[in-house]
Subunit: 162 residues, 2 copies
């Protein structure tokens, strides 16, 4: 296996992951109590559509067909999120605190994967690919920062909820 | 479910995760070709032992028994790592590039979980618990930064490997 092979494998992994996240975000938006949190998930879903397109452009730049590979990491993280939602009743502010934690676990998974893909394509001198991946990484980091900001007020309310 | 319940559930999740990581790190150290990377995994295993002890102190501060809950997120990430190692032959520098990516996916999972636990215990005014968790988070971030630093030279070698 060459570094190009490892890159392609990880690209297929994050491509699968982004499409799982596309499916999960509307459910997270629906479950959110806070309007700001709901809007954050809806806006990030739109961003994620653009990210999937950028990944398709990366496959194209490599002359490969856009294709996902089942990604156990993101499946596990989303599964934990669903278990959590099942365990917290709909009207509880604690649910939003949990949703933020789910969202941030997803963002950090993506940050790690894009970090590796960018490092490998930089080492291989593929500047066009690096630029596409960097746009996705920047959006994930911004989404993570926004969730941290929203969590301050949401956690204060959740801490006093019975 | 209260925020305290959510905290305890997530604490059990990261306690399970840290112990899975304790078991995985010696395998990662053994698989690493680069001496620096091998040493980084060995040193982080020692740190992880301290992290498990700090988590036990958090359980104690809450008057609860230290206990893990099966964590699908970390299981998925470690499973992906093992699949990768099976696919790359032992003598290849590409293997080290993959090991770093695995290590960073693990670190980011932990960074997300500790971030949530710290936010919740801060909101609940539990300063002693915050301090213990912050020590663990600082070590995970340092470990992630070290892996990024090591990846620069390792990826350059891997990029030219057949």
């Amino acid at each position: 296996m060459t570094l190009d092979d490892l890159f392609l494998l990880t690209l297929k992994d994050i491509y699968f992951a982004e499409r799982q996240i596309l499916a999960a975000l509307p459910k997270m938006a629906k479950a959110a109590q806070s309007d700001q949190l709901k809007q954050a998930f809806i806006a990030h879903r739109e961003e994620t559509e653009g990210q999937v397109e950028r990944l398709q452009a990366v496959f194209e730049a490599l002359g490969k067909r856009a294709q996902g590979t089942s990604c156990e990491g993101i499946k596990g993280i989303i599964e934990e999120c669903e278990e959590l939602l099942d365990g917290v009743k709909e009207s509880s502010p604690v649910r939003d605190a949990g949703l933020i934690a789910c969202g941030q676990a997803v963002e950090h998974y993506e940050i790690a994967r894009y970090g590796a893909l960018i490092a490998w394509s930089t080492a291989a001198g593929k500047g066009d690919v690096v630029a596409l991946l960097q746009s996705n990484l920047d959006q994930e980091k911004k989404a993570d920062t926004l969730l941290t900001r929203l969590s301050n007020s949401i956690n204060s309310v959740a801490a006093t909820a019975a």
